[in-house]
Symmetry: C2
Subunit: 281 residues, 2 copies
């Protein structure tokens, strides 16, 4: 595995592979890799001939007061994990290279960015859309792989690709979970033992919603009330939002009449955790 | 010359030319072509091996109440002019193709877009940056050519290319003028005979500023006062703005100590005309 830290070098490598007719896959990450990321890497291997994993903790997608400085980092371990997966390139640029002095351009997917997490993390999805645009222009992948835990991000990137005419295929991978159902996330690292136990409430509440729909419940308010009650039973959990919405537009729905996204964000200690499921009638 | 109206077809053509190793040049226009555009086309011929001229009157760069509907259009004549220049592709997409329903993504170069024309044309440069991003992603040029009459646009596109890591070389061409100095512009079409005569005041006032600097004047306020007085002598002209600023940051300067941009916008009848010059000490 080659490590590239320089934008020009990354660009040259990709341009050369494209000229050879190779299909390039990009897996963008912020590092501190877990099995969720590795599932994206393995899907990436299947989707193309050359695999680039980017590792960049993107400052512009953290709002002031969020955990940019505290976000866990472990480059050596990440490198070992990616070497074991026979990744071709680890692209690991510095903040100064990605955002040199004078940078002032952003990309924004307006409506989709204003909903769900966007209400509570101002500027977050603008930062995501901007850095993904930059990564697409530097790495020039044919395919890019994203996880479904960050469902809103996935929808925003897909919309952006359509709206800005990027010639990149977006592939979504399913959420990878711990044995007890907790969605894998770098931010699970923030949890102590008691909080880790409490965090099971996210998946438990999603399962409760699935069961209600399976039993025939179609009214959003009923499902939301039950999920909220489940989360409130857990004293270490604080619900930030809970939404039943259209999976494409992310607009809330009153009734579950077709595939509907249930998305939530819950604070446990200093970890803000998100999870989601698609409810099927 | 081939006319392409479809995004997928344009993309396929460009991808094929790139695979053949051809250097692709893009000249983006809104049509109603004049000698200014043709100078860009001729520069484009020199800069690469395949030449694409896009013709798209971009609705998102017109603010509500501006002249989008009235903007002059003459596709047949434009086609003849481009055929005579042996352009390879005229890319002429519909508004519905460029902005299908549900489009909601924009690109914005923040600081540069808030100055000069940006003060008076809210959203204009956001529309420009967004459509140029889309054209770059569809046509995938190696080089793109822009005119210097739209100096702020040129700086914004250059900044955007840096900030979003587009692999496109931006080439600036000098402003082409009529015999009497009026900068060529599709909007000159709006002028009646008297207004056309009055429009000479723009170039005359730029020349006056150049003469003052040549004589040793370095104080911005003195130059601005003289230029303003010259424009106010013309009863059909209404000055919108007048700025002496750094050509890269577009921030106003108090003294002319290095190359300085003098930029102005003047209304004459229903035509909003812009012009500029670089003052050299």
């Amino acid at each position: 595995m080659r490590i590239i830290e320089n934008i020009q070098e990354m660009r040259r490598w990709s341009e050369a592979k494209r000229r050879e007719g190779r299909r390039i896959v990009l897996v963008p990450t912020m590092g501190f890799l877990h099995e969720g990321h590795l599932s994206l890497v393995r899907e990436g291997k299947r989707r193309g001939e050359r695999l680039v994993v980017s590792l960049f903790v993107n400052p512009t997608q953290f709002a002031p007061g969020e955990d940019y400085a505290a976000y866990p980092r472990q480059l050596d371990r990440d490198r070992e994990l990616l070497e074991a997966e026979t990744v071709d390139i680890l692209f690991h640029p510095s903040v100064e290279q990605i955002y040199p002095e004078g940078s002032q351009t952003h990309v924004e997917v307006e409506r989709l960015s204003s909903l769900l997490c966007g209400v509570f993390r101002p500027g977050h999805f603008r930062g995501v859309a901007t850095v993904v645009t930059k990564l697409f222009n530097i790495v020039r992948p044919h395919v890019a792989i994203f996880g479904s835990k960050d469902f809103q991000q996935l929808q925003i990137v897909g919309r952006m690709v359509q709206d800005l005419n990027f010639d990149v295929e977006i592939v979504a991978c399913p959420t990878v979970r711990e044995q007890d159902g907790l969605a894998m996330s770098s931010r699970n690292f923030y949890l102590d033992a008691k909080e880790r136990e409490a965090a099971k409430v996210l998946y438990r509440s999603l399962q409760m919603a699935e069961a209600l729909v399976h039993e025939g419940e179609r009214r959003s308010d009923r499902i939301i009330r039950a999920v909220r009650a489940e989360i409130e039973k857990e004293p270490l959990a604080r619900l930030e939002y809970l939404s039943l919405c259209d999976p494409t537009t992310l607009e809330e729905v009153d009734r579950i009449e077709k595939e509907t996204l249930l998305a939530l964000a819950v604070w446990i200690g200093k970890a803000r955790l998100i999870d989601n499921t698609i409810l099927k009638t």
